[in-house]
């Protein structure tokens, strides 16, 4: 009979850690603000959400980048066969105006997604038990919205900038350093365009009971105002009708920032860019003030 080796005495010990109170560092209101901003960006892009919440934002983001890739590819292969005037078509202003419609769809999805679920699902009660004020919450949500939409508008412009630099006959480095003014312009254009489109979306989201309803109402409002603005300005000659449409306002501000021209209603009504910017800012302020009145009762 062989000896069966005895197992060694157990050396591992299982501890019941039980509950340990949190005694670590606690940050102040600035960290809480950024936590809400970060949550807003994640929610906008469907990060750490179910797959179906990723489909729309990432599809639209892809659509947003594709024209840049096409522009750069076209310029690369055909730059020697077409004149410089035609190549200017592929500039940052044209690109911003060209992609405004995609941005409208993105804003229509993202803004209610950032605002409505907290109300609809009762999550505001969690914020109400944390050191978060109504103003702090709304500021952080607005910042999250601005960052999400801003990134959506800005990143394709950066890719276009790099792409056009790569096909520039003067060389990549020379193109980048020689066109730095374009970076400032498309940054400002992204910011003003974001404000023109997201302000009304924020206002609509405050009334919507569900995300899909908010998206639908926003799209209906934006396209409805576009039609109403055209009728008022071109049909009846009412000049103020030209500043009703968020899409036209966004395009007008893009052209204003780039110092160019395009065919938006305010442009045709000969309205100054600064006036359009003021109108857009007023809509944004109205949205924030109304939101604060509403959320003050819940936070």
């Amino acid at each position: 009979m062989s000896d069966t080796p005895r197992p060694a005495d157990p050396t591992g010990v299982v501890y019941d850690r039980g509950y340990a109170p949190y005694t670590g560092v606690r940050h102040g209101s600035r960290a809480v603000f950024w936590a809400i901003v970060k949550d807003g960006v994640r929610r906008g892009f469907g990060i750490r959400r179910k797959f179906r919440y990723k489909i729309l934002p990432w599809s639209l983001a892809t659509l947003m980048v594709l024209p840049a890739a096409f522009f750069v590819g076209f310029a690369f292969f055909f730059s020697s066969q077409i004149d410089q005037g035609a190549l200017d078509f592929f500039g940052h202003q044209s690109y911003a105006v060209f992609t405004t419609s995609i941005a409208v769809l993105f804003v229509a999805f993202v803004t209610p997604e950032l605002i409505v679920p907290d109300r609809e699902e009762g999550v505001l009660a969690v914020y109400a038990s944390r050191p978060v004020t109504a103003l702090g919450y709304l500021s952080a949500r607005a910042a999250g919205l601005a960052l999400t939409v801003g990134v959506f508008l800005f990143v394709p412009q950066v890719l276009l900038y790099l792409g056009l630099g790569a096909v520039d006959p003067d060389g990549f480095a020379a193109a980048l350093t020689g066109n730095l003014d374009q970076v400032a312009r498309f940054t400002a254009a992204s910011a003003t365009s974001m404000l023109a489109l997201a302000g009304p979306a924020l206002l609509v989201s405050l009334f919507a009971a569900r995300v899909a309803t908010g998206s639908g109402i926003y799209l209906g409002t934006v396209f409805g105002l576009s039609i109403a603005g055209s009728i008022l300005f071109e049909g009846t000659g009412q000049r103020w009708g030209a500043i009703l449409s968020p899409i036209d306002n966004a395009n007008h501000l893009i052209a204003w920032v780039f110092g160019g021209r395009e065919t938006s209603l305010p442009e045709r009504a000969d309205i100054a860019g600064i006036v359009t910017l003021l109108v857009v800012a007023v809509v944004g302020v109205v949205a924030v003030v109304y939101a604060h009145r509403r959320y003050r009762e819940e936070l």
Partner: protein
């Protein structure tokens, strides 16, 4: 030290008065807030959290005036609302971690806290599932987890057993008792009086926005009475007991005897002998919180 004090606290929604003249002194520990639907429990909790402003009087939580130091109060409390408060499209781990970050806990530590607290409430294995896929019992546990993830000094639990089956209810009550053992003060509301009786050390009874009664559970429910069933007529015995200072309710051959000047059993024994009454049955009967509430409401 009292964790909650209110002075002439009142609140009205337009013409509807929800709370009137509340003077409360609630000590540390596990405390219950009892009342029928519409008694003002949720309104009181919302005032204590600073969500609603009182229309009269004032409230102090953990030594700070709620109306003057709202942020300070909120940095020390947690809240489990009665209704939904969970985003359906997020996993429990992500949301509870976010709830910790909202209390100022750094992201990495918040992630670890979320994991620990979800394990504590029995959702450790389920923490990566989306909250929208949770059952009612799991949602209640997740709601409790978000309320304590930042280790508050005081947690408000609004109807924590609502919608739970008996087993789930027992588990939730056990969790509440455990939380009290971790040094977290608790104020839990319920209209199920047995839940409060099983869990709490101190109770506040609300009725139509006013305080019906407040005090320690043992002080309220240990007023013992004795049920007596006799052979033959009970009138002679009942009269003898009353003459001796007892309070007696007669129902045929049954008597309910309360005596606060000594041992009621000794008194009943002596009067049974004195009156020559035959005894069929005698037993102690502790009044429940429900008896007290229904007797006072």
């Amino acid at each position: 030290m009292d964790i909650i004090r209110t002075s002439s606290l009142g609140h009205a929604y337009g013409d509807t008065v929800a709370l009137r003249g509340l003077d409360l002194s609630i000590p540390g520990g596990i405390n219950g807030l009892v009342g029928a639907n519409g008694a003002g429990k949720t309104t009181l909790m919302k005032i204590l959290l600073g969500i609603l402003d009182p229309t009269a009087g004032n409230a102090e939580v953990l030594g700070d005036r709620v109306d003057l130091e709202k942020a300070t109060v909120r940095s020390k409390v947690g809240y489990m609302p009665e209704g939904d408060c969970l985003p359906r499209q997020q996993s429990a781990a992500d949301f509870i971690s976010y709830a910790a970050e909202l209390a100022g806990i750094p992201a990495t530590a918040a992630r670890q806290r979320a994991s620990d607290v979800l394990t504590l409430v029995g959702l450790g294995e389920e923490r990566f599932r989306y909250l929208g896929d949770y059952s009612t019992g799991m949602k209640q546990r997740a709601k409790l987890a978000q309320a304590i993830v930042h280790h508050p000094d005081l947690v408000f639990l609004d109807e924590p057993t609502a919608g739970l089956d008996p087993a789930g209810r027992d588990e939730m009550l056990d969790l509440i008792r455990r939380i009290g053992g971790f040094g977290i003060n608790v104020l839990t509301s319920s209209h199920v009086l047995t839940d409060i009786e099983q869990t709490c050390d101190f109770v506040v009874m609300l009725d139509a926005g006013t305080v019906l009664r407040q005090g320690s559970i043992t002080g309220i429910v240990t007023q013992t009475t004795v049920d007596v069933e006799v052979q033959g007529a009970s009138d002679t015995l009942a009269q003898a007991l009353r003459n001796a200072g007892a309070t007696v309710l007669v129902d045929g051959r049954r008597l309910e005897v309360a005596f606060d000047q000594g041992d009621p059993f000794d008194l009943i024994r002596d009067q049974l002998i004195a009156t020559g009454t035959g005894l069929r049955r005698m037993s102690a009967r502790s009044s429940s919180l429900e008896d007290v509430y229904l007797g006072g409401a």
